[in-house]
Symmetry: C2
Subunit: 190 residues, 2 copies
DNA sequence: GTCTATAGGTTGATAGAC
DNA sequence: GTCTATCAACCTATAGAC
Protein backbone atom coordinates (compact mmCIF):
# COMPACT_ATOMS: atom_id res chain seq x y z
CA UNK A 1 0.00 0.00 0.00
CA UNK A 2 2.90 2.35 0.75
CA UNK A 3 4.31 1.53 -2.68
CA UNK A 4 0.91 2.13 -4.26
CA UNK A 5 0.53 5.58 -2.72
CA UNK A 6 4.06 6.49 -3.59
CA UNK A 7 3.59 5.54 -7.23
CA UNK A 8 0.22 7.27 -7.34
CA UNK A 9 1.66 10.54 -6.05
CA UNK A 10 4.94 10.50 -7.95
CA UNK A 11 3.99 9.06 -11.33
CA UNK A 12 0.24 9.45 -11.51
CA UNK A 13 -2.45 6.89 -12.01
CA UNK A 14 -1.63 6.07 -15.63
CA UNK A 15 1.52 4.22 -14.69
CA UNK A 16 -0.05 2.63 -11.63
CA UNK A 17 -0.19 -0.92 -12.99
CA UNK A 18 -0.48 -3.96 -10.80
CA UNK A 19 2.88 -5.05 -12.22
CA UNK A 20 4.63 -1.85 -11.21
CA UNK A 21 3.08 -1.86 -7.75
CA UNK A 22 4.23 -5.42 -7.17
CA UNK A 23 7.73 -4.71 -8.43
CA UNK A 24 7.98 -1.54 -6.35
CA UNK A 25 6.76 -3.37 -3.23
CA UNK A 26 9.12 -6.30 -3.81
CA UNK A 27 6.38 -8.92 -4.07
CA UNK A 28 4.86 -10.89 -6.88
CA UNK A 29 1.96 -9.60 -8.92
CA UNK A 30 -0.27 -12.44 -7.75
CA UNK A 31 0.06 -11.28 -4.16
CA UNK A 32 -1.51 -7.98 -5.09
CA UNK A 33 -4.57 -9.76 -6.48
CA UNK A 34 -4.70 -12.11 -3.49
CA UNK A 35 -4.94 -9.21 -1.04
CA UNK A 36 -7.01 -6.73 -3.03
CA UNK A 37 -9.01 -9.03 -5.30
CA UNK A 38 -8.53 -6.84 -8.39
CA UNK A 39 -7.14 -3.51 -9.51
CA UNK A 40 -10.30 -1.70 -8.48
CA UNK A 41 -9.93 -3.08 -4.96
CA UNK A 42 -6.33 -1.95 -4.84
CA UNK A 43 -7.29 1.56 -5.94
CA UNK A 44 -10.19 1.72 -3.50
CA UNK A 45 -7.85 0.78 -0.65
CA UNK A 46 -5.29 3.30 -1.86
CA UNK A 47 -7.92 6.03 -1.88
CA UNK A 48 -9.16 5.18 1.57
CA UNK A 49 -5.57 5.31 2.83
CA UNK A 50 -4.63 8.40 0.86
CA UNK A 51 -7.70 10.33 1.99
CA UNK A 52 -7.43 9.31 5.63
CA UNK A 53 -5.89 12.70 6.54
CA UNK A 54 -9.27 14.17 5.53
CA UNK A 55 -10.70 13.14 8.85
CA UNK A 56 -7.63 13.98 10.85
CA UNK A 57 -7.75 17.61 9.79
CA UNK A 58 -10.06 18.84 12.47
CA UNK A 59 -10.04 22.03 14.40
CA UNK A 60 -6.83 21.24 16.19
CA UNK A 61 -4.68 24.31 16.34
CA UNK A 62 -7.70 26.52 15.85
CA UNK A 63 -7.25 28.14 19.21
CA UNK A 64 -4.80 30.45 20.85
CA UNK A 65 -4.31 34.05 21.80
CA UNK A 66 -2.37 35.32 18.82
CA UNK A 67 -4.76 35.28 15.85
CA UNK A 68 -2.00 35.58 13.28
CA UNK A 69 -0.27 32.57 14.82
CA UNK A 70 -3.52 30.62 14.69
CA UNK A 71 -4.08 31.47 11.03
CA UNK A 72 -0.48 30.69 10.18
CA UNK A 73 -0.67 27.31 11.88
CA UNK A 74 -4.01 26.45 10.30
CA UNK A 75 -2.92 27.60 6.82
CA UNK A 76 0.35 25.69 6.98
CA UNK A 77 -1.40 22.52 8.14
CA UNK A 78 -3.99 22.89 5.38
CA UNK A 79 -1.38 23.34 2.69
CA UNK A 80 0.66 20.36 3.91
CA UNK A 81 -2.54 18.35 3.89
CA UNK A 82 -3.43 19.47 0.36
CA UNK A 83 0.04 18.63 -0.92
CA UNK A 84 -0.66 15.05 0.13
CA UNK A 85 -4.29 14.78 -0.88
CA UNK A 86 -4.51 16.78 -4.12
CA UNK A 87 -2.66 14.14 -6.18
CA UNK A 88 -5.08 11.51 -4.94
CA UNK A 89 -8.12 13.65 -5.72
CA UNK A 90 -6.76 14.38 -9.18
CA UNK A 91 -6.15 10.69 -9.85
CA UNK A 92 -9.77 9.88 -9.05
CA UNK A 93 -10.87 12.09 -11.93
CA UNK A 94 -9.25 9.76 -14.45
CA UNK A 95 -12.04 7.20 -14.36
CA UNK A 96 -15.81 7.61 -13.90
CA UNK A 97 -15.96 4.65 -11.57
CA UNK A 98 -13.23 6.02 -9.34
CA UNK A 99 -14.97 9.38 -9.43
CA UNK A 100 -18.16 7.87 -8.11
CA UNK A 101 -16.26 6.00 -5.41
CA UNK A 102 -14.59 9.24 -4.36
CA UNK A 103 -17.94 11.03 -4.23
CA UNK A 104 -19.38 8.23 -2.10
CA UNK A 105 -16.36 8.33 0.19
CA UNK A 106 -16.68 12.07 0.67
CA UNK A 107 -20.39 11.81 1.33
CA UNK A 108 -20.01 8.91 3.74
CA UNK A 109 -17.30 10.61 5.75
CA UNK A 110 -18.95 14.01 5.46
CA UNK A 111 -15.65 15.27 4.13
CA UNK A 112 -15.03 18.10 1.71
CA UNK A 113 -14.04 21.73 1.70
CA UNK A 114 -17.02 22.70 3.85
CA UNK A 115 -15.48 20.90 6.81
CA UNK A 116 -12.57 23.27 6.97
CA UNK A 117 -14.88 26.19 6.30
CA UNK A 118 -17.09 25.16 9.21
CA UNK A 119 -14.17 24.79 11.58
CA UNK A 120 -12.45 28.03 10.63
CA UNK A 121 -15.66 30.05 10.60
CA UNK A 122 -16.46 28.82 14.11
CA UNK A 123 -13.12 30.20 15.26
CA UNK A 124 -13.75 33.48 13.44
CA UNK A 125 -17.24 33.78 14.93
CA UNK A 126 -15.71 33.35 18.38
CA UNK A 127 -13.28 36.15 17.59
CA UNK A 128 -16.22 38.32 16.58
CA UNK A 129 -18.17 37.44 19.71
CA UNK A 130 -15.14 38.41 21.81
CA UNK A 131 -14.95 41.78 20.08
CA UNK A 132 -11.59 41.00 18.54
CA UNK A 133 -12.91 40.95 14.98
CA UNK A 134 -15.33 43.12 13.01
CA UNK A 135 -18.78 41.77 13.77
CA UNK A 136 -20.30 42.99 10.49
CA UNK A 137 -18.27 40.57 8.35
CA UNK A 138 -19.53 37.20 7.11
CA UNK A 139 -17.38 34.66 8.97
CA UNK A 140 -18.19 31.84 6.56
CA UNK A 141 -17.18 33.95 3.58
CA UNK A 142 -13.88 34.89 5.20
CA UNK A 143 -13.26 31.24 6.07
CA UNK A 144 -13.99 30.08 2.53
CA UNK A 145 -11.77 32.82 1.12
CA UNK A 146 -8.83 31.99 3.37
CA UNK A 147 -9.11 28.27 2.69
CA UNK A 148 -9.58 28.95 -1.01
CA UNK A 149 -6.41 31.04 -1.06
CA UNK A 150 -4.42 28.22 0.55
CA UNK A 151 -5.97 25.74 -1.88
CA UNK A 152 -5.04 27.86 -4.87
CA UNK A 153 -1.48 28.18 -3.60
CA UNK A 154 -1.25 24.39 -3.17
CA UNK A 155 -2.71 23.78 -6.63
CA UNK A 156 -0.19 26.09 -8.27
CA UNK A 157 2.58 24.25 -6.46
CA UNK A 158 1.14 20.90 -7.49
CA UNK A 159 0.97 21.89 -11.16
CA UNK A 160 4.62 22.92 -11.05
CA UNK A 161 3.66 26.29 -12.42
CA UNK A 162 6.11 29.13 -12.05
CA UNK A 163 6.13 29.62 -8.31
CA UNK A 164 6.49 32.68 -6.15
CA UNK A 165 4.01 34.82 -8.01
CA UNK A 166 1.18 34.34 -5.57
CA UNK A 167 1.25 36.06 -2.19
CA UNK A 168 3.13 34.06 0.44
CA UNK A 169 1.30 32.35 3.25
CA UNK A 170 2.76 34.93 5.62
CA UNK A 171 1.34 37.77 3.55
CA UNK A 172 -2.00 36.01 3.27
CA UNK A 173 -2.15 35.62 7.05
CA UNK A 174 -1.24 39.26 7.64
CA UNK A 175 -3.76 40.50 5.09
CA UNK A 176 -6.56 38.35 6.47
CA UNK A 177 -5.79 39.40 10.02
CA UNK A 178 -5.81 43.06 8.96
CA UNK A 179 -9.26 42.99 7.42
CA UNK A 180 -10.63 41.32 10.54
CA UNK A 181 -9.43 44.05 12.88
CA UNK A 182 -12.22 46.27 14.19
CA UNK A 183 -12.26 49.77 12.67
CA UNK A 184 -10.59 52.41 14.87
CA UNK A 185 -13.88 54.30 15.08
CA UNK A 186 -15.61 51.31 16.61
CA UNK A 187 -12.86 51.01 19.22
CA UNK A 188 -13.11 54.70 20.10
CA UNK A 189 -16.88 54.55 20.32
CA UNK A 190 -16.99 51.74 22.88
CA UNK B 1 -10.97 17.05 -31.30
CA UNK B 2 -14.46 17.89 -30.08
CA UNK B 3 -14.99 14.19 -29.41
CA UNK B 4 -11.66 14.00 -27.60
CA UNK B 5 -12.46 16.88 -25.28
CA UNK B 6 -15.93 15.55 -24.63
CA UNK B 7 -14.62 12.12 -23.68
CA UNK B 8 -11.85 13.67 -21.59
CA UNK B 9 -14.31 15.77 -19.59
CA UNK B 10 -17.08 13.20 -19.26
CA UNK B 11 -15.21 9.93 -18.77
CA UNK B 12 -11.75 10.98 -17.74
CA UNK B 13 -8.42 10.22 -19.30
CA UNK B 14 -8.36 6.51 -18.44
CA UNK B 15 -11.01 5.67 -21.01
CA UNK B 16 -9.64 8.09 -23.56
CA UNK B 17 -8.31 5.48 -25.99
CA UNK B 18 -7.64 6.16 -29.64
CA UNK B 19 -10.32 3.56 -30.40
CA UNK B 20 -12.97 5.32 -28.39
CA UNK B 21 -12.08 8.73 -29.78
CA UNK B 22 -12.33 7.42 -33.33
CA UNK B 23 -15.61 5.67 -32.66
CA UNK B 24 -17.05 8.73 -30.92
CA UNK B 25 -15.97 11.00 -33.77
CA UNK B 26 -17.32 8.64 -36.42
CA UNK B 27 -13.99 8.07 -38.15
CA UNK B 28 -11.54 5.22 -38.34
CA UNK B 29 -8.77 4.82 -35.80
CA UNK B 30 -6.10 5.27 -38.46
CA UNK B 31 -7.35 8.78 -39.17
CA UNK B 32 -6.56 9.75 -35.63
CA UNK B 33 -2.96 8.66 -36.06
CA UNK B 34 -2.74 10.31 -39.48
CA UNK B 35 -3.70 13.70 -38.03
CA UNK B 36 -2.03 13.57 -34.63
CA UNK B 37 0.88 11.19 -35.25
CA UNK B 38 0.38 9.27 -31.99
CA UNK B 39 -1.63 9.29 -28.80
CA UNK B 40 0.71 11.80 -27.19
CA UNK B 41 0.13 14.19 -30.08
CA UNK B 42 -3.61 13.78 -29.71
CA UNK B 43 -3.42 14.54 -26.01
CA UNK B 44 -1.14 17.52 -26.56
CA UNK B 45 -3.59 18.97 -29.06
CA UNK B 46 -6.49 18.28 -26.73
CA UNK B 47 -4.69 20.09 -23.91
CA UNK B 48 -3.90 23.07 -26.08
CA UNK B 49 -7.53 23.25 -27.14
CA UNK B 50 -8.92 22.57 -23.68
CA UNK B 51 -6.73 25.18 -22.04
CA UNK B 52 -7.31 27.83 -24.69
CA UNK B 53 -9.84 29.63 -22.45
CA UNK B 54 -6.88 30.30 -20.14
CA UNK B 55 -5.82 33.15 -22.35
CA UNK B 56 -9.30 34.38 -23.09
CA UNK B 57 -9.99 34.99 -19.41
CA UNK B 58 -8.58 38.48 -19.28
CA UNK B 59 -9.77 41.48 -17.39
CA UNK B 60 -12.88 41.85 -19.45
CA UNK B 61 -15.79 42.68 -17.24
CA UNK B 62 -13.44 43.98 -14.60
CA UNK B 63 -14.88 47.46 -14.85
CA UNK B 64 -18.10 49.17 -14.02
CA UNK B 65 -19.69 51.37 -11.45
CA UNK B 66 -21.37 48.78 -9.26
CA UNK B 67 -18.62 46.86 -7.52
CA UNK B 68 -20.86 44.02 -6.49
CA UNK B 69 -21.95 43.59 -10.10
CA UNK B 70 -18.31 43.56 -11.19
CA UNK B 71 -17.40 40.91 -8.63
CA UNK B 72 -20.46 38.85 -9.50
CA UNK B 73 -19.64 38.97 -13.20
CA UNK B 74 -15.97 38.15 -12.63
CA UNK B 75 -16.74 35.32 -10.20
CA UNK B 76 -19.34 33.75 -12.46
CA UNK B 77 -17.01 33.92 -15.46
CA UNK B 78 -14.20 32.40 -13.41
CA UNK B 79 -16.35 29.52 -12.18
CA UNK B 80 -17.68 28.78 -15.66
CA UNK B 81 -14.10 28.79 -16.86
CA UNK B 82 -12.97 26.45 -14.08
CA UNK B 83 -15.82 24.04 -14.78
CA UNK B 84 -14.36 23.63 -18.25
CA UNK B 85 -10.67 23.65 -17.42
CA UNK B 86 -10.46 21.74 -14.12
CA UNK B 87 -11.15 18.35 -15.73
CA UNK B 88 -8.36 18.98 -18.20
CA UNK B 89 -5.94 20.04 -15.48
CA UNK B 90 -6.83 16.97 -13.45
CA UNK B 91 -6.31 14.68 -16.43
CA UNK B 92 -2.80 16.02 -16.91
CA UNK B 93 -1.87 14.74 -13.46
CA UNK B 94 -2.35 11.15 -14.55
CA UNK B 95 0.98 10.91 -16.34
CA UNK B 96 4.35 12.53 -15.54
CA UNK B 97 4.93 13.36 -19.19
CA UNK B 98 1.59 15.11 -19.51
CA UNK B 99 2.34 16.91 -16.29
CA UNK B 100 5.55 18.32 -17.68
CA UNK B 101 3.80 19.34 -20.88
CA UNK B 102 1.16 21.14 -18.86
CA UNK B 103 3.81 22.93 -16.80
CA UNK B 104 5.59 23.99 -20.00
CA UNK B 105 2.33 25.19 -21.50
CA UNK B 106 1.52 27.25 -18.43
CA UNK B 107 5.00 28.74 -18.34
CA UNK B 108 5.02 29.52 -22.05
CA UNK B 109 1.65 31.22 -21.99
CA UNK B 110 2.34 32.86 -18.64
CA UNK B 111 -0.88 31.28 -17.45
CA UNK B 112 -1.83 30.22 -13.98
CA UNK B 113 -3.75 31.46 -10.97
CA UNK B 114 -1.55 34.55 -10.67
CA UNK B 115 -3.04 35.92 -13.89
CA UNK B 116 -6.47 36.27 -12.40
CA UNK B 117 -4.96 37.54 -9.16
CA UNK B 118 -3.06 40.24 -11.06
CA UNK B 119 -6.14 41.33 -12.99
CA UNK B 120 -8.48 41.39 -10.03
CA UNK B 121 -5.98 43.10 -7.73
CA UNK B 122 -5.48 45.86 -10.31
CA UNK B 123 -9.21 46.51 -10.22
CA UNK B 124 -9.21 46.48 -6.43
CA UNK B 125 -6.23 48.84 -6.30
CA UNK B 126 -8.14 51.23 -8.55
CA UNK B 127 -11.06 51.05 -6.16
CA UNK B 128 -8.70 51.88 -3.32
CA UNK B 129 -7.16 54.77 -5.23
CA UNK B 130 -10.62 56.17 -5.89
CA UNK B 131 -11.42 56.03 -2.19
CA UNK B 132 -14.14 53.46 -2.70
CA UNK B 133 -12.27 50.71 -0.83
CA UNK B 134 -10.25 50.58 2.38
CA UNK B 135 -6.75 51.63 1.44
CA UNK B 136 -5.09 49.71 4.27
CA UNK B 137 -5.98 46.28 2.86
CA UNK B 138 -3.67 44.14 0.73
CA UNK B 139 -5.34 44.09 -2.68
CA UNK B 140 -3.40 41.04 -3.86
CA UNK B 141 -4.43 39.07 -0.79
CA UNK B 142 -8.09 39.97 -1.29
CA UNK B 143 -7.83 39.02 -4.96
CA UNK B 144 -6.23 35.66 -4.16
CA UNK B 145 -8.84 35.00 -1.50
CA UNK B 146 -11.79 35.78 -3.77
CA UNK B 147 -10.38 33.70 -6.62
CA UNK B 148 -9.52 30.92 -4.20
CA UNK B 149 -13.08 30.89 -2.90
CA UNK B 150 -14.46 30.55 -6.44
CA UNK B 151 -11.90 27.84 -7.18
CA UNK B 152 -12.85 25.87 -4.09
CA UNK B 153 -16.52 26.13 -5.01
CA UNK B 154 -15.79 24.87 -8.52
CA UNK B 155 -13.67 22.02 -7.18
CA UNK B 156 -16.40 20.86 -4.84
CA UNK B 157 -18.84 20.90 -7.74
CA UNK B 158 -16.38 19.00 -9.91
CA UNK B 159 -15.88 16.30 -7.30
CA UNK B 160 -19.62 15.80 -7.08
CA UNK B 161 -19.44 16.30 -3.37
CA UNK B 162 -22.62 17.12 -1.50
CA UNK B 163 -23.37 20.55 -2.88
CA UNK B 164 -24.90 23.62 -1.31
CA UNK B 165 -22.84 23.59 1.84
CA UNK B 166 -20.41 26.30 0.79
CA UNK B 167 -21.51 29.93 0.68
CA UNK B 168 -23.17 30.85 -2.60
CA UNK B 169 -21.45 33.07 -5.10
CA UNK B 170 -23.92 35.81 -4.22
CA UNK B 171 -23.01 35.60 -0.56
CA UNK B 172 -19.31 35.52 -1.39
CA UNK B 173 -19.71 38.67 -3.47
CA UNK B 174 -21.65 40.48 -0.76
CA UNK B 175 -19.18 39.45 1.94
CA UNK B 176 -16.17 40.51 -0.12
CA UNK B 177 -17.78 43.83 -1.00
CA UNK B 178 -18.58 44.45 2.66
CA UNK B 179 -15.04 44.03 3.89
CA UNK B 180 -13.80 46.41 1.21
CA UNK B 181 -16.07 49.25 2.26
CA UNK B 182 -14.23 52.09 3.98
CA UNK B 183 -14.92 52.41 7.69
CA UNK B 184 -17.54 55.04 8.53
CA UNK B 185 -14.93 57.01 10.48
CA UNK B 186 -12.75 57.38 7.41
CA UNK B 187 -15.67 58.73 5.44
CA UNK B 188 -16.53 61.26 8.11
CA UNK B 189 -12.92 62.35 8.45
CA UNK B 190 -12.48 63.34 4.81
C1' DG C 1 -7.17 11.63 -46.49
C1' DT C 2 -9.80 7.71 -45.11
C1' DC C 3 -10.41 3.08 -44.80
C1' DT C 4 -9.57 -2.34 -43.34
C1' DA C 5 -6.57 -5.55 -41.45
C1' DT C 6 -3.19 -6.76 -38.52
C1' DA C 7 1.16 -6.74 -35.97
C1' DG C 8 3.40 -6.07 -31.41
C1' DG C 9 3.37 -4.97 -26.80
C1' DT C 10 1.26 -4.23 -22.29
C1' DT C 11 -2.06 -5.18 -18.78
C1' DG C 12 -5.39 -7.37 -15.65
C1' DA C 13 -6.33 -11.66 -13.97
C1' DT C 14 -6.07 -16.86 -13.11
C1' DA C 15 -4.11 -21.68 -12.32
C1' DG C 16 -1.61 -24.45 -9.69
C1' DA C 17 2.70 -25.72 -7.13
C1' DC C 18 4.89 -24.88 -2.69
C1' DG D 1 0.16 -16.54 1.69
C1' DT D 2 3.52 -16.31 -1.85
C1' DC D 3 5.43 -17.69 -5.90
C1' DT D 4 6.04 -18.82 -11.38
C1' DA D 5 3.89 -19.36 -15.62
C1' DT D 6 0.46 -18.24 -18.62
C1' DC D 7 -3.81 -16.52 -20.89
C1' DA D 8 -7.11 -13.47 -22.93
C1' DA D 9 -8.21 -8.83 -23.79
C1' DC D 10 -7.02 -4.47 -24.97
C1' DC D 11 -4.41 -0.75 -26.86
C1' DT D 12 -1.11 1.76 -29.77
C1' DA D 13 0.69 1.92 -34.10
C1' DT D 14 1.65 0.54 -38.96
C1' DA D 15 0.92 -1.34 -43.79
C1' DG D 16 -1.21 -0.95 -47.79
C1' DA D 17 -5.46 -0.50 -50.74
C1' DC D 18 -8.64 3.00 -52.42
Amino acid sequence: MAATLRLLRERGIAQLTTREVARCAGVSEASVFYHYRDRAGLLAAAFAAGLAPLQALGEEGLAGDDRRAVLRRFGAALERFLDEVLPVLAAAQADPRLRRELADFLREHRAGPHRGVDALSRYLAAEQAAGRARADLDARVIALSFIGACTTRAMQRHMAAPAGRLPSLERLVDGTDALLRPAPSAQRGS
